[in-house]
C-alpha cells in the first residue's frame, strides 16, 4: 500500500472544466476548499448578464446537509427560528439558526424535498452543531456537499432558458418553490431560489450529470444571452438585493472570539424569521428578552448621496463627525442597475431607524491621492433592487 494524503490543493467542482474553458482571466479564489472564479472574462459584464439576460454561477461549494427521519420537522423546528410547520414539501425556506444566546450561527436555505426529507444549504459548516441538536430525535443528518452539484441560473431570461431546455412545470413554480424533473435519467431538482434578488432558479444534480446539464443549459440559453459568471458579479447582485453574507455582514457566532461581535436575528433585520408563537427553538429565551429590552445593533440598508463607494466606512450621526461613530459599513457598492450608491451597515440602536439620515465617512483614492468625504445617507426599508419579475408566476419570457 503506497502512502496517501488528503488532497492538498483546491478542489475542482464538476463544472470546473466547463468554466475553465470559458476563463480568460485566471483569477480564482478558494471557497470552502473549492476553486471558484472571481470573474471569467469581465466582472461587470457578467453582472449585467444577471440583470439583463442569464448568469450561471457554480454553487457546488455550498455546504449541504440531508436531513431525514420521522422527527425531521420537529428537529428543524427547534433548530431554526422560523416556523417550519408552514414549509410544506416542495417549498423552500430562508432561515437563520441561533445558539442559546440568540446569536446567529448562520443563515441558509432549507429545501423541503419530500415529506420528512430536507436539504439544508449554508455558507458555513455545521455538522458539529447539527449533530449536537440531533440528540434525542429520530433523525439522520448527512453531509452531501460533494454529492450534489449545483448551478444558480439567474436573470430575466432564465425562465425562457430553462423552458427551452425542455423543463416542464416552470409556469406553476412559484418563488421559493421546488420541483423534481428527469434529466437524462437522473433526478434534477429545480428550485426558484437564488442570491441575486432577480428572477432565477437553482439546479441541483448528481455530479456525474453535471457537465451534461451545463451543456444542455448553455445550448438552450444560446439565444437568451446566457453567460457563466464569477463571484464578483454575484457579490454585486446580492448587495443590490440586500442579502446578507456571512463574513462581511455578520459572523457565525461559534467562530467568534470577541464578545459583542455576534448578532441576533433581530439585529440583522430578520425579525420576520423569528416566530415566538411556535414551539421552543434554540435562542428563544434570549431573543424574547432582547425583544423586550431592545437590541444593541441594527442592520441598515443605506442609500448614500454621491457616487463614492463607502467601503469600510464609519457611520456618524452628524455631518461633522463630532461625536463617536454610531456604526460601520459592512458591504458597499455602486449599483449599476439602480444608479444608486448603496451599502449595508451595522449601527447602534436607537440610530438607524428606517427613513432617518446618517452620515458616512468615505475615504477614496484618485490617482494615488486620498480624499475624504462625509456623505449623507438615508436608511431604507426595501431591497435596492426588487423587480416584479422576481416573483411573477408564471414568469414572463423577457
Amino acid at each position: 500500500m503506497s502512502a496517501s494524503e488528503v488532497f492538498q490543493g483546491q478542489i475542482r467542482s464538476p463544472f470546473y472544466e466547463r468554466m475553465a474553458a470559458l476563463d480568460t482571466k485566471s483569477t480564482w479564489h478558494t471557497w470552502k476548499g473549492y476553486t471558484t472564479p472571481d470573474a471569467l472574462y469581465c466582472g461587470e459584464t457578467e453582472y449585467f448578464a444577471v440583470r439583463n439576460a442569464t448568469g450561471v454561477f457554480d454553487i457546488t461549494p455550498m455546504t449541504k446537509y440531508r436531513i431525514k427521519g420521522r422527527d425531521s420537522l420537529a428537529y428543524i423546528n427547534r433548530l431554526v427560528t422560523r416556523d417550519m410547520e408552514k414549509i410544506k414539501p416542495g417549498r423552500v425556506a430562508y432561515a437563520v439558526w441561533c445558539d442559546d444566546q440568540g446569536q446567529v450561527l448562520d443563515d441558509g436555505t432549507i429545501f423541503h424535498l419530500r415529506e420528512g426529507e430536507y436539504r439544508l444549504c449554508s455558507q458555513e459548516r455545521h455538522f458539529d452543531w447539527l449533530m449536537t441538536n440531533a440528540i434525542g430525535f429520530d433523525v439522520s443528518v448527512t453531509e452531501e456537499t460533494a454529492e450534489v452539484a449545483g448551478l444558480a441560473v439567474q436573470g430575466p431570461t432564465s425562465y425562457s432558458v430553462l423552458k427551452n431546455m425542455g423543463i416542464k412545470g416552470l409556469d406553476e413554480l412559484k418563488l421559493f418553490g421546488l420541483m423534481h424533473v428527469d434529466f437524462e435519467g437522473a433526478e434534477l431538482m429545480v428550485s426558484r431560489t437564488g442570491f441575486t434578488g432577480d428572477l432565477g432558479y437553482e439546479l441541483w444534480i448528481q455530479p456525474d450529470k453535471a457537465t451534461a446539464l451545463w451543456d444542455a443549459l448553455f445550448a438552450a440559453g444560446k439565444l437568451y444571452g446566457i453567460r457563466a459568471i464569477g463571484a464578483h458579479a454575484l457579490e454585486m447582485a446580492r448587495v443590490e438585493a440586500g442579502y446578507l453574507a456571512p463574513g462581511p455582514d455578520f459572523l457565525p457566532a461559534k467562530a467568534t472570539v470577541r464578545t459583542g461581535r455576534t448578532r441576533s436575528p433581530l439585529e440583522l433585520g430578520l425579525e420576520w424569521l423569528v416566530d415566538f408563537s411556535k414551539p421552543n427553538f434554540n435562542g428563544r429565551r434570549a431573543l424574547a428578552e432582547e425583544k423586550r429590552k431592545g437590541s444593541t445593533w441594527r442592520l441598515v440598508k443605506l442609500d448614500i448621496a454621491g457616487n463614492k463607494i463607502a467601503h469600510s466606512s464609519y457611520i456618524f450621526d452628524d455631518a461633522s463627525a463630532s461625536k463617536k461613530n454610531i456604526g460601520f459599513i459592512t458591504s458597499a457598492e455602486w449599483s449599476p442597475v439602480c444608479k444608486q450608491n448603496v451599502a449595508l451597515g451595522s449601527v447602534r440602536t436607537p440610530h438607524g431607524k428606517v427613513g432617518s439620515t446618517v452620515w458616512v465617512e468615505i475615504y477614496y483614492q484618485r490617482e494615488m491621492h486620498w480624499s475624504r468625504a462625509m456623505a449623507k445617507a438615508t436608511v431604507v426599508d426595501k431591497p435596492f433592487w426588487l423587480p416584479p419579475r422576481r416573483s411573477a408566476t408564471p414568469p414572463g419570457p423577457y
Binding site: 502512502a3 494524503e5 458539529d128 467562530a255
Partner: protein, 538 residues
Amino acid sequence: MKTYDAVVVGAGHNGLTTAAFLAKAGLDVVCVEKNEYIGGAAVSRELYKDWMYSNCSYVCSLLRPEIYRSLELHKHGLQVTPYGGSLQFLQNGDYFGSYHDAEAAYRERARFSRHDADSYERYSADTMRQCRFIRDTLLRTPPDPTSFKRKDIKELLAIGSKFMEMGEDRMYETIRFWTMSVAEYLDEYFETDAIKTAFSGSGIIGTALGVHSPGTAYVLLHHYMGEVDGNAGTWGVARGGMGAVSKSIAGAFQAYGGELRTESGVDKIMVRNGKTTGVALEDGTEINARVVVSAMDVKRTFLKCMDRSDLPAEFHKRVENFKIRGSSGKVNIALDGMPTFPALPKGSVLYRSDMHFIDSMERMERAYDEWKAGTWSKDPYIDCVIPTTTDPTMTPPGKHFMSCFVQYCPHQIDGRAWTSDEKAAFGRTVIDQIANYSPDFKNLILHYEVRTPQDIEAEIGITEGNIFHGELTMDQLLFNRPVPGYAQYRTPVGGLYMCGSSTHPGGGVMAAPGANAAREILADLKRPNTVPENFGDD
C-alpha cells in the same frame, strides 16, 4: 573596588533580557553565567562535528514580539521561521496530520470524523478567547490582590473588566477552563481519540501532570498563545538554533554597554542588613552591586545561593513548597540523512512538522502513571522536531538534526539518582518508539545525546530540569507565582529581584519575565522605563 548598578545571575534568555533592558536604561550592568557558554536552556552547541544541537528548548513561538522589536533582535542575528503543522503516527499504520493549510487540515480531520472537522472551528475560537484574556497579562506585572496601591488596584480592575467584558456565559466557561483537565476540555469538542491525543500534548508538556489532571487545559493555552508574526498558535524555528535567541539578546545587551562574564558561577548572593550587596562567585571573586537580579529558578536562588538566615522563615518554606518537578527529558540526534516514514507519502509537508508517536488518550495517561511510579514512560509522549527541514544552517547539507522532547521522565528513579544503564535504556525507549514508524531511522543515527532532568539540572542549573522553572498550575500562576506576596519580581531582601521563568508569566522562551522584572527594577531605581508594553490586538 567597582560597584555595578546591577548584577544579573544567569545568562539564559530571561537574565539577558533583564540585563539588556537595564543596560538600555543606562545602568552599569554585568551578567554572570556559570557555564562557558551563554543561553541557559535557550542554547545551541556543536556536540558533534558540524552539527548544532538545540539541546534544551527547540522551537520558538512564545518569544514576545514586543521584546524582539524593542531590543532590535534582528540586528543581532535573530530570524524566526514558521514551520508546518504537526503529525501523529497511529499504531494501525495510518497517521493524523494537523496541516498548516486550513482546508487540508479540514479534509484530514474529516477523514476521521466530519463532526471533528467542523467542531475545530469552535475549539479554535474558544481557545483563542482564553488566549486573548491571558495574553494581555504577559508583559504586565501581576497585581497584588491584597494591596491597596493605586497601581495594583488599576491592574486588578483591568483584569476584572476584561473578565466582565466576556459576558455571563463566557465567564462561566473561563472559570471552568482554568480548572479543568485537557482531556475534559477536548471531550467538549472532539469524538476521535487520535485527534484528541494530537491536541492534548500541549496540555502536559513540561508539566508533571497527566492529560486527565485538573489544570492541564491551561497548560494547553500556554502553548497556544504564542505567535509568529501575528499568526497565533504558530510555532517556528530560530535560524541557527535556539541559541540564536540568547545570542541576539546578548548582542543587544552588549551593544547597550553591558558586560558578560562566563564561567562565573555564583556561590552566594551577599546580604547585609536586609539588603543585597552583590554576589560571591564560586572562585571567591566578589562582585559588588546595588541590585542583584537572579534569573535562576526560585529554588536555586533562595535555597542554594542564599543563607537561610537572610530570609523570612515563611517565605523560605513557601519556596521549598513551590512545585518544580522534573517531568521531561530530551534525546538529541545527529542524522546522516532524512529518515523515511512509510506511513507518509514522499514529499509531504508533514515531514517539516512536529511529529508524535502516540495515538490514544489512554496511552497518554499510562505514560504519566509510570512517572508517578518513579520511572520513565516506556511508551512515552515524544514531541519530535527536525528543525533542519526548515533551517539550512544547523547541519551539513542533506544531513539532519532531530530534537526529541520526551515525557514523562522523572528527576530521579525511585527516589535515587539515575544510573548510566537506566539513562541508556531511556534513550533506547525513545529511539525504539520512533523506529517503529521509520525502518531506516536507526541506521541514520550518527550520534545522540540523552538528557534526563538530572542532567539538565546539573548542566543548566534548573531545579529538576523543569522547562518552566515551576509548573503552570493555577496555584502557581499570576499573583501566586512564585510565592504569594512576591509576584512582582521583588524578594524579601532589599535590592534582590527575580527575573527567571519561576516568575509571571512562566517559561517557554517568552522573555516576558525578564522584561517585566526590568520594568519593576527601573521603577524602583526611578529610571525611565525601557520595557515595551503589550502590542494588544484590539
